[in-house]
Amino acid sequence: MKKKFKVLINNKWCKCCSLCIKFCPVKNLTMTEQGVKDSGKCIGCKLCERYCPDFAIEVQEIKK
């Protein structure tokens, strides 16, 4: 069974620098008017979490 992940974004701390969008290898994250949005394709590489300079992203595994 493939693991599933969700990207939690703290919009209070996010400054919309879009580093996470550029680093994402599967183009999961997109910029909207409300901020960065997760579109459910996350593979759990955690590059966005690592390179977010504002501590705003956390990647969690979805457990069933």
Binding site: K12, L19, F55
Partner: protein, 244 residues
């Protein structure tokens, strides 16, 4: 919530820095390194000087001091001399440590006080609007050098290595390497110096022709190679650590 965030003052976030600034990554790397080493919160002091990175001391949930311009190292040395049990970390920028505080770096490395200095080198005076600093590369266009910088950049490595101290260099792109190098410096028993190449998009990158902070960070990947030998000097385009 990630565990290392307990080391930061969450009430003060978001940080005051520009979007995409590398300072946040350095704060994150230091917090994660301290968390992984299980350092005692009540036994650690962070000292910073003036500049963009000088703000970072205020975000740590520890005893921290935001000192005068360039005087971060003497204050840290004073703290360590008064109470040798404390772990003292200096976290400051290149304009603070190498320009106005260059003299103090020279003498702290001679005296071999057991402090860890983390110098975030973004190659510019970012806070005042992007003027050329001693670490600005030759021919770089900045606010104060519109026709290109005339003078070559300063090299700190020989100053630190002359007294057989630990010198390390890393970039914000090589995040795990940065964490490892910071851990090594924190565990070192003498004066240790970590130079972190960081990105400044608003002050330096825009005039240098970059379109996004991402491009500066990816340039670090292209331009820096890992060094495997720990006894010789690092070349200009190498990251790693040296302890003679």
């Amino acid at each position: 919530m990630q565990d290392y965030l307990t080391l930061l003052k969450l009430k003060k976030l978001p940080t005051t820095w520009c979007p995409g600034c590398g300072n946040g990554l350095v704060v994150k790397a230091l917090a994660q390194a301290m968390h992984e080493l299980k350092m005692n919160k009540h036994n650690t002091v962070i000292v910073s000087g003036i500049g963009c990175n000088g703000r970072s001391a205020g975000y740590f949930n520890l005893e921290s001091i935001h000192t005068l311009h360039g005087r971060a190292i003497p204050v840290a040395e004073g703290i360590k001399t008064a109470n040798p049990k404390l772990n003292v970390i200096v976290l400051s920028g290149d304009g603070d440590l190498l320009a106005i505080g260059g003299n103090h770096l020279l003498h702290a490395s001679r005296r071999k006080t057991n402090i860890t200095v983390i110098c975030v080198n973004n190659r510019i005076y970012g806070m005042t609007g992007g003027q050329a600093s001693p670490t600005t590369p030759l021919n770089a266009k900045t606010a104060s050098t519109p026709f290109g910088n005339e003078f070559p950049e300063i090299d700190v490595q020989p100053v630190v290595l002359a007294n057989n101290n630990l010198y390390a260099r890393s970039t914000v792109y090589h995040f795990d390497h940065l964490k490892q190098v910071i851990k090594k410096a924190l565990l070192d028993k003498e004066f240790s110096f970590v130079e972190v190449m960081s990105n400044c998009y608003q002050g330096y990158g825009k005039k240098a022709g970059y379109m996004h902070p991402y491009e500066i960070i990816m340039d670090f990947k292209k331009n820096y190679n890992m060094s495997r030998s720990h006894k010789k000097e690092l070349k200009k385009n190498e990251i790693g650590f040296v302890k003679k």
